[in-house]
């Protein structure tokens, strides 16, 4: 099962992961990462913009690479866009596989590559003002692992 989505509304990861797990019968395990909007001091809201003609194909291309690289039975990759509040889920990646290592590594791989494969632009609202978030060095060292 392959389920790649951009969502512009609040979602509940459990409602996605339950059916995803059920859809991959006979698997050995499923690894899931859910990222939430952090409650950093002073952050009132986060806005994620995307460019549909690049963002969704980027996610599909990343899914293709994950399926080619790992032995997967299923991959769920869901990313929020639009306006979010601290504590809301922003990303959910779940991989089902016969073997644990494939499931965990596929989630790790997708999370490390999501930001470079799919085009998103983030800005934060602090004290009523929006600020664009710049790329972080950590992202480059994460990518160098693969």
């Amino acid at each position: 099962m392959r389920d790649i989505r951009l969502l512009d509304q609040m979602f509940l990861p459990g409602l996605l992961i339950g059916p995803f797990t059920q859809a991959n019968k006979g698997m050995g395990g499923v690894c899931t990462f859910v990222g939430e909007v952090r409650s950093d001091t002073g952050v009132e809201a986060l806005e994620l913009s995307h460019y549909e003609p690049l963002t969704l194909p980027g996610m599909h291309g990343l899914a293709d690479r994950a399926f080619a690289r790992f032995s997967l039975m299923g991959l769920l990759m869901v990313h929020r866009v639009g306006l979010m509040r601290p504590g809301e889920p922003i990303v959910c990646v779940s991989a089902a596989a016969l073997h644990r290592r494939d499931a965990i590594d596929a989630v790790d791989f997708c999370m490390d590559h999501l930001k470079s494969a799919a085009w998103f632009w983030k800005r934060e609202k602090r004290v009523g003002e929006w600020h664009w978030i710049e790329p972080r060095d950590q992202d480059h060292s994460d990518l160098a692992r693969w």
């Binding site: 085009w119 632009w121 664009w132």
Partner: protein, 79 residues
């Protein structure tokens, strides 16, 4: 007409999420047609260009006809 989609902070710089410019446009034409601050920004190698959803390897490859969509893309944000 050509629609120019401005993403991220380039939308702030352009003052709007999209601009409409007369067709056709090549790289020199785009720079001439954009507001000065935006024209300066697109020259920066960190900002990329896509035409009809396809990233350009070289900005000088730009050739957009009537009805095309040009996207101006700043670097994606970390998180």
């Amino acid at each position: 007409m050509i629609t120019v989609v401005l993403l991220g902070r380039l939308a702030d710089l352009g003052g709007a999420p999209t601009l409409s410019l007369p067709a056709p446009l090549d790289w020199a034409g785009l720079q001439a047609a954009l507001p000065p601050a935006l024209a300066e920004a697109v020259k920066n190698s960190r900002n990329r260009i896509a035409v009809n959803g396809v990233l350009l390897a070289e900005k000088t490859d730009l050739h957009a006809g009537d009805g095309a969509e040009i996207a101006l893309l700043p670097p994606v944000s970390g998180g």
